[in-house]
Amino acid sequence: MEHVLIKTQQLTKRYGPVSVVKGLNLEVKSGEIFGFLGPNGAGKTTTIKMLTGLLDPSEGEAFICGYDISKQPTQAKALMAYVPDQPKLYGKLSAREFLHLVAALYRVPKDIIAERTEQLLGMFELGDRVDELLESYSHGMRQKVVLAAALIHQPKVILLDEPTVGLDPASARLLKDVLQEMARQGAAIFVSTHILEIAERMCHRVGILKDGLLIAQGSPEELRQKVGHSGESLEDIFLELTGGHENAELIHSLEEG
């Protein structure tokens, strides 16, 4: 049975008179990988921050596993993980100490923290540098630590903001496999990315955000059919939808459709 694990209703964020996200309605189900696409400044990170509870919406609601993120943040956060695009970690902690801390914060039972930490560090090939301070890690290695930290508490929902930036091809592939395995086990994955090949190959459905408005959503195949060019890649569809004023009519027709 498919459960809706991420749901937004008329989610809106305004900074003064400027609306950054406008009445966003979307649903991501259990076992689904949802790609969140959009040009720079479209409102993707703001949406993710509202979904994670880092930012209160001006209007509307966001639910994680049925919990309202504004009203029941502790329950929602306990079931969710977030991987930011710029991983800011405690530079003065080692990778092992950091994972132990995150596990404790997410209330992972003490007896399994050590075992799971070692498993994840091994999986992301951080084993030989686990006791070095994080300040000496490269961006890619920090990203791996954040990914390991995101998985340590068995989240049911995982939100990732540009997760492949800084990762080498092998790690990017590993990440893709991990996310697919999580989806197979019933988790909902929400990925914001600019790399459209990843979205096309990995995501079951994608949503395209432009100027705070969700202008299209569906599987890559559905989007192709909507645009009316069946042979085109997701990149072409994306550029066509987020292009200049000449595409306004097309966007309008999609919104109506």
Binding site: K13, L55, Y67, L79, L89, L93, E97, R107, Q154, G186
Partner: protein
């Protein structure tokens, strides 16, 4: 590779109590602090120990000073004195607390991570507030706890009195920190996240200047009145102290005075009122802080998400002809344009630096420092109008122009930071870069120093001719000194992302100052040949002829003797020698150091990256 992942959770884990979460976060904070200490170099640890000993020494000496002051006072005057101390302490706590709160609550790297965890925000802010409170400990000890303890010792108070000292100290400590956090809420609202690092430097520098000013006031008062009696002064301020009793610092002093007079219960009442006020303010600050972050009133200083957007007032007209493909075609298939003059490149370098100085508020403090220092000298001149202070004011101004110019030029190449690759990779290396840097370093410096020099000269009534001569001299001195500064900058520049204003190695800075002193000395010799001081001539005329008898000492004396000879030559030869020495030394220093800097620029320069305990060189890039 087979991926083994445990299945996702079905239900959230049971919640933990406030104390459990707080302990967990506190332990993590302690672990971070411990690791920080553990990974510091031995040199840093020794430096910290020296600093701690110095602070303790200051603390002890200030304690003795306060004790001595209290001894000369009646209990009522002591109440006023305590009120003043508590007020000063509260003000210091607020200033230092704002910086600490800003760093802990806005610039902290871990906020996003902690906000994402299922730990209530209250716990996060409780741990962060503890750090802010901790940062105010020294100020609280210095201005609240110690005076209270000394007061008790002086009047032989019983043990119960120290309970009042503790409560009063705690109350004032909490109030200071809470007000700092409340003001910080506004600061966090005003300062956009991407300028937070700049702001913390600005706040720190502002607090430092204000405190320096406050500490200079007694000096000025004593200079004016020759004899300043604190007890007499306090006795004359009775009305002000009565008004102070309406404020928390007055309550604190009342509590202690009542306690010492044997009226413990009244003292306890006042001290509890203070403590309740502290707790109340702290709770307000706490609640508003949590609400501010949750409602987005304050943004996290991470990523671009927090950057406030401005409403777009103008719409860019979309030209269908300007399709990206058309632009690409026009760039890659257009005709090759001619090469522009290197002067444009020079100006571009200068403009870049000038804009950076204008837009980074921390840079302004570099220019505010001489203004503040000069303010003291002008103040001293106005307070004690004697001839010697007038001469010393002009001398200090000229000396400062040289040192300040050198120091500003020292910052030039370090300002490139991690972007040093750009100036190394563009076809501008050599004189366009170096002259551009010189221009940017010297323009604001000259503008400021010339204004100060001419303004001060006019205020203190220096003749027009001398003022013009001084102004011209300052330009030349500034140019020479900046050339020296640039040379040391290009060879010893560094960049610390955590402290971007540290742009030069300390050794190079010292060496630059020494060379500048040498530069001034030789220039002064030329000036002495030009404008012969009569006092010196009368001494020289009485000197017997000196000969070189071998050895260093004799060599030095003989050298000075030879240098003094032109002073006794006929005017024409003396003035000609003066011009040759002054112009020669200036040209040698200015063009020599500029040529050396240009040469280094052509070879390529590197900015040494310094991060905490580590420093590293990036690959040197050359043209």
């Amino acid at each position: 590779m087979k991926i083994l992942l445990p299945p996702p959770l079905t239900d959230p884990p049971p919640e933990q109590s406030f104390v459990q979460d707080f302990t967990l976060l506190f332990k993590a904070q302690m672990r971070v602090t411990w690791n920080k200490m553990r990974h510091r170099s031995l040199g840093t640890l020794i430096g910290m120990a020296v600093l701690l000993i110095s602070l303790l020494a200051i603390l002890v000496s200030l304690g003795f000073l306060a004790y001595g002051s209290l001894q000369t006072m009646s209990p009522q005057s002591a109440q006023g004195f305590l009120s003043l101390l508590f007020m000063a302490g509260l003000a210091s706590q607020i200033f230092f607390g704002i910086t600490a709160a800003f760093a802990a609550l806005y610039m902290s790297d871990d906020l996003e991570l902690l906000f994402m965890t299922p730990v209530p925000l209250k716990v996060v802010f409780a741990v962060k507030s503890l750090a802010v409170i901790g940062s105010n400990l020294f100020t609280a000890i210095l201005f609240t706890f110690l005076p209270g303890v000394f007061y008790g010792l002086l009047f032989h108070a019983g043990a119960s009195f120290y309970i009042l000292v503790f409560l009063v100290g705690l109350g004032l400590w909490l109030i200071g920190t809470a007000i700092a956090e409340l003001i910080n809420l506004l600061v966090m609202r005003i300062v956009p996240p991407h300028r937070s690092k700049e702001a913390v430097g600005f706040i720190g520098a502002f607090a430092g200047i204000l405190i320096a000013l406050v500490f200079q006031l007694p000096n000025l008062l004593i200079s004016k009145n020759n004899k300043f009696n604190l007890a007499d002064w306090l006795a004359g301020q009775e009305q002000i102290f009565n008004v102070m009793n309406f404020f928390p610092w007055g309550w604190g002093s009342l509590a202690l005075v009542k306690g010492i007079s044997g009226n413990f219960l009244t003292g306890l009442g006042w001290s509890l009122l203070l403590l309740i006020m502290g707790v109340f303010l702290f709770l307000i600050a706490f609640t508003l802080l949590e609400l501010g972050f949750r409602r987005g009133f304050i943004s996290l200083s991470q990523g671009e998400g927090g950057k406030r957007r401005k409403r777009r007032t103008t719409l860019v007209k979309v030209d269908t002809a300007s399709h990206p493909q058309n632009t690409i075609n026009s760039i890659f298939h257009g005709e090759v344009t001619g090469t522009a003059s290197p002067w444009l490149g020079m100006w571009a370098v200068a403009k870049k630096d000038l804009l950076s100085m204008k837009r980074d508020t921390r840079e302004w403090f570099g220019y505010l420092t001489p203004l503040i220092i000069m303010l003291f000298f002008v103040g001293q001149f106005l307070f004690s109008q004697v001839e010697s202070s007038r001469v010393s004011l002009i001398t200090v101004l000229m000396m400062y122009t040289v040192m300040f110019s050198g120091n500003m030029a020292l910052q030039s190449f370090g300002r490139e930071g991690e972007s040093d690759w750009l100036l190394n990779s563009v076809p501008l290396a050599g004189w366009p870069v170096v002259w551009g840097k010189l221009l940017a370093a010297i323009l604001p410096t000259l503008l400021l120093m010339e204004t100060m020099l001419v303004g001060t000269a006019m205020i203190i009534g220096v003749s027009t001719t001398l003022t013009i001569t001084l102004a011209l001299g300052a330009v030349l001195l500034s140019l020479g000194s900046s050339a020296i500064g640039l040379f040391y900058s290009i060879n010893n520049c560094r960049f610390n992302p955590d402290s971007p204003q540290q742009r030069i190695s300390p050794g190079a800075s010292m060496l630059m100052y020494l060379i500048n002193l040498f530069f001034i000395l030789i220039l002064a010799l030329g000036m002495v040949y030009l404008f012969r001081p009569n006092e010196l001539i009368s001494v020289l005329q009485q000197l017997p002829p000196i000969t070189f008898e071998g050895g260093l000492r004799s060599g030095i004396i003989y050298g000075f003797y030879l240098l003094s000879r032109p002073l006794l030559w006929p005017a024409t030869w003396r003035i000609l020698t003066g011009i040759i020495v002054a112009v020669g030394v200036w040209s040698l220093m200015f063009f020599g150091f500029m040529a050396a800097t240009v040469r280094q620029s052509r070879k390529g320069f590197r900015v040494e990256l310094v991060t905490g305990r580590k420093k590293k060189f990036r690959k040197k890039s050359t043209n």
